[in-house]
Amino acid sequence: MSNLLNLEVKKIVETPPEEIERVKNWINTEEYKEKNFARQALVINPAHACQPLGAQLAAHGFEGTLPFVHGSQGCASYYRSTLNRHFREPAPAVSDAMTEDGAVFGGQNNLHEGMENAYAIYKPKMIAVFTSCMPEVIGDDLTAFIKNAKQKKCVPTELPTPYANTPSFNGTHIHGYDSMLVSILQTLTEGKQVEGRCTGKLNLIPGCDFNTGDYREYKRLLKEMGVPVTVLADISDTFDSPCDGSYHIYAGGTKLEDAADSINGKATITLGPYATPKTFGWIKDNYSGKHVSMPLPMGIAKTDAFLMKVAELFGKEIPASIKNERGRAVDAVTDSHQYMHGKKFAVYGDPDYLMGYVSFLLEMGAIPHHILCSRGTKKVEKDLQALLDGSMYGNGCKIHMNKDLWHMRSLLVTDPVDAVIGDSHGKFAARDAKVPLFRFGFPIMDRVNKHRYPLVGYQGVVNMVTEICNKFIEMKDETCEDQQFELMR
């Protein structure tokens, strides 16, 4: 025995080619699918990340805000690089680099030193603190730590320092987004409510949305409507900043004073009902004005509903320019419906995105055959089912809750579809099933500029229809027999 643990020594055996062939075919079978769906413990290719990633996104949505990870430095590097890859933009964030001694003594010293250094070096207007696993497991008391930090003058007392517990062993990135956002709003609006004051503005909460084009689209539509708006939290300039020869660490974000004054708003709408329940619940109890939670405006009908709600809340007519825009979008979908009608899709992603994809597909006469949600509640399932029940194109479509992308692979190879909609991680399953993947959602790490093209509003409908239909047409051009290769499609 030449090895340390006295393990048995064997000759190297190559797997015979016929055995490889057998397994290769086997993983595409119904039998394998059943085995795969019987998994109890192993998760393979999950379609969700952990809470702190969403918390960091929310923090980036505010002016001069430095996201601060209380935990191991590796966590911060992972969140940052994921955001870098998706947006192809900087994502500055610090961590307090907890190590083994932190596990023994707690992370207060790291937090204090980290806040002092970060404040001195990066001069933020706000430090948004959130946690990764380590302090959550050992039970660090963030409330006390941050209070002490101010007492010790690590940072000025007046510096806003919202904080959120965002344990990675609970929920997904959308839950971290919610916890961070509500903490930021609680911190900034504290003592800012003025009896009788109304900003006359709409507070718009886009939800945990990673598409900067969506944020710009909301602002454009509301400008067209003549409705002043505060977007909470606005990542559009943070993650879509100009290349002009200078680097600005805080490239965008909602102005802190606007966020503070949002408590005196005329109305608040959240468009991410599944991503912002905590935030919305707190706003309902504390903000002036009306409060509305409605789905992400993807597709014509949901965009109509959003605009009509805004019109109602602000006593405005929807202007002719938007009516025309709607007309042009409908023109785009009627002109191209034939390329999508009856096509079967598999979709996966966060609940708010999923609701959007499904309504849009049903509107087009396409079939959202497999709907897979990596993490979601009974309510998400019920709401999706209600959408399906509202359309004949939803008949027989199946919702797979709390399943991963290896489950989806089994679905695609045993019960095929024409295309898949989701983030870049679905490309492996889509390739195995030999169908195209339309990259909507997050993260998109293998295509350029996708985050600049809105999926919401009427323009979003035009963008989705154009991308999807042209791909189907292109596939026909690429694969058809010569005699079928025509000028017109």
């Binding site: 030449s2 090895n3 340390l4 393990l7 020594v9 064997k10 000759k11 190297i12 055996v13 490889i20 290769k24 085995k35 998994r39 413990a41 192993l42 998760v43 393979i44 290719n45 999950p46 990340a49 952990c50 702190p52 601060f68 935990g71 430095q73 590796g74 966590c75 992972y78 940052r80 690089s81 890859r85 994502a91 500055p92 961590s95 307090d96 680099a97 907890m98 190590t99 083994e100 932190g102 596990a103 790291n110 937090l111 002092e116 250094n117 970060a118 070096i121 990066y122 696993c133 344990p167 990675s168 062993f169 609970n170 997904t172 900043s241 290349c243 002009d244 020869g245 680097y247 991680h425």
Partner: protein, 481 residues
């Protein structure tokens, strides 16, 4: 090592130190004192490290470092293609490190290679009650669903070590039950100060659980070698392995790029270990030297000058057959490399590059830039140790700035002062510098290109560097109005 000490016009020890002092002036005193020893002008003549390294990251400064788990999953274990690598703990760590290192693999995904994300996706109840039972079940499920996997690694994330799970005993029992190697790796992210400890822990588990458990089926030859610390980023191993084979050597195992578990396990039978990334795998070379008497040699496959030196150093360890083949290989590629240099050097001559990367590249790529006429005006590592900086000193021009685990602020300030024509670093840095109008290449992932290793790689490298620096898009950055 370079023969003579090079100087860069305008860079002196004093000017570099002034730049460092200026960058640190904004820091609170304690942080400044901690950071100062990690930043220094290079002392090329001494051939020794001018900076401190492998110390705890200063909280709050914005370090580029990762963690021990990243070093274990991303670097050492992840590239082994025929194993299932389980990220044991919450969902995030495995998800972020899924497919983001570009260690390419051959085989069929889900059948003979497992370039996927396997996780126990810890929930609150696993933290409270422990995850050992779940681990046992998932190992069975993995074995069941992926019968051709040659083994399973269990890579611990932070909570596993904190809650006191015993993955070692679960792995031991399951390995027996399932009759495949199951390797527990206690690489929780809070251990150590960077990725580096994750490399070391992983090397130790290879030593304990893998090496010496297999033997090659074919007879031994005096030309049997292993290629260590080659991770096949962008297909690097598919350039270096054939090159070594062209030199008459049998590359019996690659650690761990496109790696195969059983070949790694039989590496104790080779005659020589050739190591590329010294930082992440020197430990196992030393183990194999002590335990099995296998000598090792550290080589550099970036750029024709270093490749030629490396191949000749390698040939010295073998007989005339190899020496002749190596000379034939060099003679074959020299004119091809010369043609590449003639094409690109006129456009790159005198350009300045700054580097901040991981294991070996901050020193190993300098020669390749120099082949193209470029100068390295600053270099540093995320997670190096003193022996890395010792090896770096003679490669860098004298008095240029050396930075260990720099903060983003320091790196940005140095670039402001030095005005490089190119920065080579990672994804977190890329867009900072591009906003500043400075051309940039990701030097961890080869910026989705590659290979950069070997003769085949130099052609791609030269093209990419030229493309980055001379792209007409940089002329558009300043608006004319």
């Amino acid at each position: 090592m370079s023969d003579k000490i090079r100087k860069i016009e305008g860079i002196t020890k004093e000017s570099t130190q002034a730049m460092i002092d200026e960058a640190l002036s904004v820091y609170p005193e304690k942080a400044r004192k901690k950071r100062a020893p990690h930043l220094a002008p290079n002392d090329a003549a001494s051939g020794c490290a001018s900076v401190k390294s492998n110390k705890k990251t200063v909280p709050g400064v914005m370090s580029a470092r990762g963690c021990a788990y990243a070093g274990a999953k991303g670097v050492v274990w992840g590239p082994i293609r025929d194993m299932v690598h389980v990220s044991h703990g919450p969902v995030g760590c495995g998800w972020y490190s899924w497919g983001t290192r570009r260690n390419m693999m051959s085989g069929i995904t889900g059948v003979t290679n497992f370039a996927m994300q396997f996780t126990s996706d810890f929930q609150e109840k696993d933290i409270v009650y422990g995850g050992d039972k779940k681990l046992k079940t998932l190992l069975e499920e993995a074995h069941d669903l992926f019968p051709l996997a040659k083994g399973i690694s269990v890579l611990s994330e932070c909570p596993v070590g904190l809650i006191g799970d015993d993955i070692n005993s679960v792995a031991k029992q399951s390995a027996k039950d399932l009759d495949i190697p199951i390797i527990p790796c206690n690489c929780e992210g809070f251990r150590g100060v960077s990725q580096s400890l994750g490399h070391h822990i992983s090397n130790d588990t290879i030593r304990d659980y893998i090496i010496g458990t297999r033997e090659f089926a074919e007879p031994e030859s005096p030309y049997d070698i292993a290629l260590i610390g080659e991770y096949n980023i962008g297909g690097d191993a598919w350039s270096t392995k054939p090159l070594l084979e062209e030199c008459g050597l049998n590359v019996k195992a690659v650690w761990t790029g496109d790696g195969e578990l059983e070949k790694i396990a039989a590496t104790h039978k080779v005659k020589l270990n050739v190591i590329h990334c010294y930082r992440s795998m020197n430990y196992m070379c030393k183990v194999m030297e002590e335990k099995f008497g296998i000598p090792w040699i550290e080589l550099n496959f970036f750029g024709p000058t270093k490749i030629k030196q490396s191949l000749r150093a390698l040939a010295e360890l073998f007989d005339d057959t190899i020496k002749e083949k190596v000379e034939a290989v060099i003679a074959k590629y020299d004119p091809i490399m010369q043609a590449i240099i003639e094409e690109y050097k006129p456009r790159l001559d005198g350009k300045k590059v700054m580097l901040l990367v991981g294991g070996l590249r901050p020193r190993h790529t300098i020669g390749a830039y120099e082949d193209l006429g470029m100068d390295c005006v600053g270099s540093g590592y995320e997670f190096a140790h003193t022996d890395d900086y010792d090896r770096t000193a003679p490669e860098m021009p004298d008095a240029t700035v050396v930075y260990d685990d720099p903060s983003e602020y320091e790196f940005e300030k140095f670039a402001d002062a030095l005005k490089p024509d190119l920065v080579g670093s990672g994804i977190k840095e890329k867009y900072v510098f591009q906003k500043m109008g400075i051309p940039f290449r990701q030097m961890h992932s080869w910026d989705y290109s590659g290979p950069y290793h070997g003769y085949k790689g130099f052609e791609v490298f030269a093209r990419d560097i030229d493309m980055a620096i001379n792209s007409p898009t940089w002329n558009l950055v300043k608006a004319p109005f």
